[in-house]
Symmetry: C2
């Protein structure tokens, strides 16, 4: 089966809306190669290119892609096979009014540093950083409200989650017919937290396989990601405490179902196994994961 | 060299104060075996033992131990060699008014579940959970203010950090002559987050070696922990966002020093390497780590 190519030149979105129009239609099970531009649409090509404020349009997401047969209540399964860098350099920037330490002593904004690609690494000021690509923005058409591609929420969006990487599988609730998958805003490398507000932003080619899980055993309210060793709930909210609550509640529901525990018992159990993890602390909503090892949670859907 | 035994029967504290009186004195380089009681002082021995509210005295910390030669400005180095469980069962509890999901639908408090020790596992409602012990409360005499053993702060205290485990090395600022090390509140297993407010609370015997780093290359303001692969700053604050800021600022200072970067460059660099991690989200202050791989940060002190 040939891999279907979908380029950012065919269309990108800067807002996940309930009523998106597809730029491409695929079948469940199709293998895709998706081209993404960098989150800043090529505006930063050297250290003299400074971004004075968060652009109105940022994190261009290639798509939306309609998946035949995906209906509200289903789960969209996105297996991320590889993420190849598609340009010779990334860039990391600070923007005034954005980032964990924005406005604190010694923190300058705007600043730009380029991160050239050299074999297995990018370099930052001459220091090697292993290439470990991340899809920053990935999601589907939301249920009711619209969200710019700067915002993460229950539809996905700007999750900035390091687990959105090759070898893992992302799951999204299907809220609208066709699901309407879109993605972009990739990084050559990024820390959990994305403290300064960006990773090493870069254009990519993403190979993935998209599938639909119909009539899942549980209702999925928010995205999840499957790694080789763990299932992770993902939740975004105004504060990290609120995001932790949502991610933990979702994990508890899965643990209670699998092990036939009461809600309170699953809560206690969650306090023994797995881990709360930070995705990002800089976007308009922050994002947290609750990771449960597969030894404890074998089959959530 | 024989290992010095220090039992909780010799003395425990429920408050880290600047003016602590030592129950034992040791030399730098001494090997210790420290006995700790469970965080609830033995009050919970079966599922019918319920804790109605957070006790005034909780997390008994064996000590304080005065370390000869430790002076303000030094760093106390605590190498955790092993943590052996010292009773046949742990316990996980909920307490009204405490825990991430306290008061939410379906969450009952007070509740108790026992977690019997069986070979390499504890069990929770018959489900195996690998034993992976954690020292919940560990710290030194603070600089100025006093903190009960329920509270984490710059002196350590109730950090509830899973990295406080065998094979790792904890570092604390020395604020007072002799440092005054104390520890307790161990768990047989605990998730990052400690969502329900406890892990599997249990008595232990901890083997460790204590040393003093005089005239360190950097001022240490807060605890750190060294794992086989990473150096982690640790910060506690009212909100997770504030704790993230402190943990990130500390990491930035270390990265700037090692790589001769400006503060802004180190901030950008931190957004590419390492990870913000959650220790606990339930104590009166919450605790976050910023983990930097040793490939990037070789020698902070």
């Amino acid at each position: 089966m040939s891999r279907k190519q979908i380029s950012h030149e065919q269309g990108v979105i800067y807002e996940f809306r309930p009523d998106l129009d597809a730029i491409a239609e695929i079948e469940a099970g199709d293998q895709l190669r998706i081209g993404t531009r960098d989150s800043l649409d090529g505006a930063v090509q050297s250290e003299s290119d400074l971004i004075e404020s968060v652009p109105d349009e940022v994190n261009a997401a290639t798509g939306p892609i309609a998946v035949a047969g995906a209906s509200p209540g289903d789960i969209l399964r996105v297996e991320i096979e590889s993420i190849e860098l598609a340009e010779e350099t990334g860039r990391v920037i600070t923007i005034d009014g954005f980032g964990l330490l924005d406005g604190e002593p010694g923190i300058q904004a705007p600043e730009t540093r380029m991160t050239p690609v050299e074999d297995e690494n990018i370099t930052f000021e001459g220091i090697d950083v292993p290439i470990d690509p991340v899809i920053g923005t990935i999601g589907v058409a939301p249920r009711r409200d619209s969200y710019t591609t700067l915002v993460p929420h229950d539809h996905g969006g700007n999750l900035d989650t390091t687990d959105m990487t090759a070898g893992n599988v992302a799951y999204f609730p299907v809220f609208q017919t066709g699901a309407m998958l879109a993605m972009g805003d990739c990084k050559a490398a990024m820390a959990d937290g994305e403290m300064c507000g960006t990773g090493a932003e870069i254009a990519t080619e993403i190979d993935l396989t998209v599938d639909v899980i119909s009539d899942p055993a549980v209702d999925l309210d928010r995205p999840m990601v499957e790694t080789p060793n763990a299932w992770k709930t993902i939740a975004s909210a105004e504060t990290m405490e609120e995001a932790c609550k949502l991610a933990n509640r979702d994990a508890i529901e899965l643990l209670a179902t699998e092990h036939d525990l009461s809600t309170t018992e699953a809560y206690m159990f969650s306090s023994l196994v797995g881990n709360l993890e930070i995705s990002q602390v800089v976007d308009p909503l922050v994002t947290v994961r609750n990771s449960i090892p597969k030894s404890t949670l074998t089959s959530p859907f």
